[in-house]
Amino acid sequence: MNEYLIPVLLIVLAPVIGGLVYGFDRIVKARMQRRIGPPLLQPFYDFLKLADKRQMMVHSTHAFLGIMHFVSLWFALAVLLLGGDLILVIFLHLLSTSLLILAGYSTRSVFSHLGANRMAISVLAYEPVLIIIAVSIFMINGSFDTSVVFASDQPLLYKMPLAFIALLLILPIKLKKSPFDVAEAHQEITGGVEIEYSGLFFEAVYTAKWLDYIFCYTLVFLFAGSNILLGIGLVVFTFFYLAALDNSTARVNYKQMLRFSLGVAFTLAFINLLINSLI
């Protein structure tokens, strides 16, 4: 019973924690630019304000796909935290992303189409690396279950450091941080797939972004095994690494992104897999 308490609490509170993480992220980013930045609860203010706007939707399928994106992402997070199959988690996450891509294609807006194209390309960039990392974890633990990873007292970080570096390299793509934020590119295509959402339905997409933070940091946490202190250290390190990277780099185009992730991150993960399978 007790071992389920923390995961279930985390799952139920995931949007709240994610919102706090996002708010803190905005403050840290502002401080790095010598600004004061918004208050910590800013994401929730945005949330409450959006709930009060007049409802407008492009068509019902579009709105439905946005909400399903949120629900399936939450489900993927639940499976990850409850110790489910890592491959299943990755594919559930892929499902939720593809729902959003479909939503992007379902409208007639050019920016929405562009955003959906770019999002599909970023999926192409990070998904193979994630799968390879999952297979490496299987090589070490003999099981895809994350519960085994959470329970093992030897942190994965020491056994597969290259995979961790590969994960660090693809996280900006996943979280749509610069330099790999082509899918969102606010100055260029003003948000991409989310451009046609408004009011309550944008809220679903907006909150899904917070869930994505929790999802990614849980993936980072996986590398610490049962060592909670190390896990928190890794998460904090990743947080500041992402904020610093976001502030200090300019956006690359999608070809450079694809070349980088498949050339460098994928190679690193693959070398790591080879080493793991040889030892």
Partner: protein, 174 residues
């Protein structure tokens, strides 16, 4: 819980240049920089009409931007406020009476706050936005219509003067 009180805590801004000289636009962008940092009030420059609450317009309406301005205004979900930034957007400014120029913004869409200055100062823009937030909090989700549709106040040069509609804005401010 009164949701309307959260409107002023996260005003998202849409900035539209209807044909100005870019002077006011640079001042608006200066507001976002480290010196004035309007993000500390929760403001974001979204660039997306469907998700924003405040429409900041600079420059006079030209014959080319007329339809786009109205379209963008119509795409914003209510409640929303419109701020006309600078002399151009308010009255036509130095471009008033030119062959390609239609004059002030208020002839086409309802404007809530006028910010003066040719090259508005960032402090003035922030002041204007703060005033607009007061109006935003009192607004409802009802549709509004342009002043020009309500009354035909043609002046000798064929353009609407903002003094004509000052009375309609006053009750909102009170």
């Amino acid at each position: 819980m009164n949701l309307a009180s959260y409107r002023k805590k996260s005003p998202w801004i849409l900035h539209f240049n209807a044909g100005g000289c870019n002077g006011c636009d640079i001042e608006i962008l200066a507001c976002l920089g480290p010196k004035y940092d309007i993000e500390r009030f929760g403001m974001i420059n979204t660039g997306n009409p469907k998700q924003s609450d405040i429409l900041l317009i600079t420059g006079p309406v030209t014959k080319r931007t007329r339809e786009r301005l109205v379209e963008i205004y119509a795409q914003m979900p209510e409640p929303k406020v419109v701020i006309s930034c600078g002399a151009c957007a308010s009255t036509g400014g130095v471009f008033r009476g030119m062959y390609n120029c239609e004059g002030g913004v208020d002839q086409f869409i309802p404007v809530d706050v006028y910010v003066c200055g040719c090259g508005t100062r960032p402090e003035q823009i922030i002041d204007g936005v703060v005033q607009a937030l007061g109006i935003l909090e009192k607004k409802t989700k009802a549709l509004e219509e342009s002043v020009k549709l309500k009354k035909e106040a043609w002046q000798e040069d064929g353009q609407l003067n903002r003094r004509n509609i000052a009375d309609e804005i006053k009750p909102l401010l009170a």
